[in-house]
């Protein structure tokens, strides 16, 4: 429709101009070392999705009661995604009370049953939601999985990591130490 009204050549010029305008914005979006300025505000992302337990949950139900949140994207066919989950479980246990983990399954709706079979018996201390329309994945700019994103309590993104291989959990832990602090050992707690 736009093409018919404006013309193909003009469309190309407008598109090029849009890309240039967008590219000119990015340099002012912070240096590589300054993560405070690369933010995706959680406040602008709203949803109501089915959870693993069958309840419908929105962002207000999920993002409350913690200082930081790790959002992770997972699918039944993604092996590194499944290998990552026990590491996230260990992290959730260590930072219980100050950290919450939210897992979005980006499987098609026909795979919900398989996802329930793979996750139901694990008893992970996560909130698990089915993003079947992949809207949250798109809104947060997630192109590949697994991708982990850390948000603070105000909904601002502070860090993200793409992929999982052995040892990547240490990067996540190092970032949490920087944000929350060291994990207390059982002896210190006593």
């Amino acid at each position: 429709m736009f093409k018919e009204i404006i013309g193909v050549k003009t469309m190309r010029i407008l598109t090029l101009a849009m890309i240039l305008a967008l590219a000119s914005i990015f340099p002012f979006a912070a240096s590589a070392q300054d993560t405070d300025d690369n933010e995706v505000s959680w406040d602008g992302v709203r949803f109501e999705l089915e959870s693993l337990d069958g309840d419908d949950m929105n962002e207000e139900d999920v993002f409350s009661g913690a200082d930081y949140y790790i959002v992770d994207f997972w699918a039944t066919w993604c092996r590194p995604c499944s290998q990552y989950l026990p590491q996230l479980e260990s992290i959730a246990s260590d930072y219980e009370g100050s950290l919450k983990i939210v897992l979005f399954s980006v499987d098609d709706p026909g795979n919900i049953s398989t996802a329930r079979a793979m996750l139901g018996g694990e008893d992970y201390p996560f909130t698990i939601l089915f993003d079947v329309e992949k809207e949250i994945q798109r809104d947060l700019g997630v192109a590949r999985i697994p991708t982990s994103i850390i948000f603070d309590a105000s909904g601002e993104e502070v860090w993200r990591h793409i992929g999982y291989e052995h040892g990547d959990e240490e990067e996540v832990r190092a970032k949490l130490v920087e944000l929350i602090g060291e994990v207390e050992s059982p002896a210190e707690e006593e």
């Binding site: 736009f2 469309m11 598109t15 090029l16 849009m18 890309i19 240039l20 967008l22 590219a23 990015f26 002012f28 979006a29 912070a30 240096s31 590589a32 070392q33 993560t35 300025d37 690369n38 933010e39 995706v40 505000s41 602008g44 069958g54 066919w77 590194p80 499944s82 290998q83 990552y84 026990p86 479980e89 098609d108 709706p109 026909g110 795979n111 919900i112 049953s113 398989t114 329930r116 079979a117 793979m118 996750l119 139901g120 018996g121 694990e122 008893d123 329309e133 798109r138 809104d139 700019g141 590949r144 999985i145 697994p146 860090w159 793409i162 992929g163 999982y164 291989e165 052995h166 040892g167």
Partner: protein, 499 residues
């Protein structure tokens, strides 16, 4: 090296590269608040499989403020037949929250009815599927009543439709879809009734499809139960009678700490619909995973055992039984057992055995027996790297030649920002050999795919990736990330940046 690149595209690429790497000023936090989630992406590649040189650029602009969200995507990446021109606005639309209970959408939007057999209008770029509609949608709630209405258009992605010599992307009329869903949401039980109507032109004939859908989802203690029925009526101009079909599916899930069991049943008959995706009982990552909406009935039982004392190790047992009602056949049986060791150890492995009998779907439905043995190992490697090795042996009982596959991957994290990797796949399955050599240098042979990659992430929101070599298509997990990728042979440089 051959390139067919638009001079303006070169200008855009290098100008953006320079701008992004200049010393940036301190950002205005309002910029991220309103435009967070926007991204740009560039790809420069030469692919010997498709014999194409390309430069692709994509800008995805997202604006949000309180209750309004606007998005716009401009790109010259055209993976779908309905995309007709360079640098067009491929996606644009808005989402407006009237209040907490009501939302309206305009432009491109997604819509799913049931489990997708009635309508699966979404965009999944990972698998190259885009059935999003262009029109409008509203959804909302009044107490326990939920309402959704939609109407939109979409040009067919059926590539056969565009290769007849008669239909072209320019003269094809867009398909029209409209309908709605009414839901009753109680505490533990949800009911839905949906209606989808489609008007299409196929080979100069008008085709109308009407689908009625009903489903119930019931949560009862540790059980989660789902039933769905879909009824199809297809009327084609010139045909004497409409074609009627149906799709039924049921799911029962039970879970307790340490064990979960899932049962699925499907029954599809004459329910082919271009904008629907029928749930399949086969595992998604295997080649023959697509369901047959014309004639398929069967069940699947999926058991996952993972006691707490196993530290994340899992035993998975899957049984699938499929048959065709309308045609004679031996059916298809699939018994799959997989053990995954604890990922909390330094080295982890996954071992699986699969036995298939009856009709071999991967080989076009010929009768026979098939056994697959698979082993994959992951662990640390020297120089702070990691390795992945996977082998699969396939044995067949009939005259079809058996084949084995081997996959090896190594990558090294040279620094937190810099990773290099090597990846190799081999298969003895007879295949059409790819064009020999890369820039005239032979690097592989039929049944072998080798590539190296270099990944540079200066910060968590930007990434450079260089790939040289050949890559087999399909679901791939390489370098710790997974995607459904097309086959490729050549050189590819990509850059992405997220705001």
């Amino acid at each position: 090296m051959r390139y067919v690149i638009n001079a303006s595209a070169i200008t855009v690429f290098f100008l953006t590269f320079i701008l992004l790497n200049s010393n940036p000023a301190k950002a205005d936090s309002a910029l991220e608040q309103y435009f967070g989630g926007s991204s740009i992406y560039f790809e420069l590649s030469q692919d010997e499989i498709t014999d194409t040189d390309k430069f692709e650029g994509e800008a995805d602009l997202r604006f949000r403020s309180d209750d309004l969200k606007v998005f716009l995507r401009a790109s010259n990446n055209m993976p779908f037949p309905h995309q007709t021109d360079n640098f067009e606005f491929q996606k644009r639309g808005f989402e407006y929250d009237i209040n907490r209970d009501w939302t309206v959408y305009g432009g491109n939007f997604s819509m799913i009815v049931g489990r997708g057999a009635a309508l699966h209008a979404v965009e999944d770029r990972g698998v190259g599927w885009d059935a999003q509609l262009d029109g409008g949608k509203f959804e909302g709630e009044i107490g326990f009543l939920s309402l959704t209405g939609f109407w939109g258009e979409h040009k067919s992605d059926n590539t056969l439709y565009y290769t007849t010599g008669v239909n072209t992307p320019e003269n094809v009329r867009a398909d029209k879809l409209y309908g709605g869903v009414v839901g009753l949401d109680f505490n533990d039980v949800d009911f839905r009734i949906g209606l989808v109507k489609t008007d299409m032109m196929r080979n100069a004939a008008q085709v109308s499809v009407t689908i009625t859908e009903a489903d119930v989802n019931w949560k009862a203690g540790d059980f989660n139960i789902y039933f769905e029925g879909d009824w199809y009526k297809t009327e084609t101009q010139g045909a004497e009678e409409p074609v009627e079909g149906r799709a039924q599916l049921a799911e029962i899930n039970w879970a307790n700490p340490g064990i979960s069991i899932s049962g699925q049943y499907i029954d599809y008959e004459n329910s082919l619909f271009e904008y629907g995706t029928h749930p399949t009982l086969k595992r998604t990552e295997v080649d023959e995973s697509t369901a047959n909406p014309v004639d398929q009935e069967g069940f699947r039982i999926d058991t996952n055992i993972t006691p707490g004392s196993w530290d994340g190790a899992t035993l998975r047992v899957i049984l699938v039984n499929l048959k065709a009602d309308l045609t004679e056949g031996a059916g298809h049986r699939d018994f799959f057992v997989e053990y995954a060791s604890s990922p909390l150890q330094d080295y982890s492995f996954i071992a699986s055995v699969e036995r298939i009998g009856g009709q071999l779907l991967y080989y076009g439905g010929v009768p026979g027996n098939e056994e697959n043995y698979k082993l994959s190992v992951d662990g640390p490697f020297f120089l702070g790297g990691s390795f992945h090795a996977q082998t699969r042996i396939r044995q067949l009982s009939n005259d079809i030649e058996s084949d084995d596959e081997l996959e090896l991957g190594f990558d090294w994290t040279v620094s937190p920002e810099f990773t290099i990797g090597l990846f190799r796949e081999t298969s003895t399955n007879p295949i059409e050999p790819p064009p020999p050599g890369l820039f005239g240098i032979p690097i592989d042979s039929p049944g072998q795919w080798n590539h190296m990659f270099v990944n540079y992430t200066p910060d968590p929101w930007s990434e450079w990736n260089l790939l040289i070599g050949s890559r087999r298509g399909g679901y791939q997990c390489s370098g710790g990330v997974c995607a459904n990728l097309p086959p490729f042979k050549g050189i590819q440089l990509t850059y992405s940046r997220l705001l």
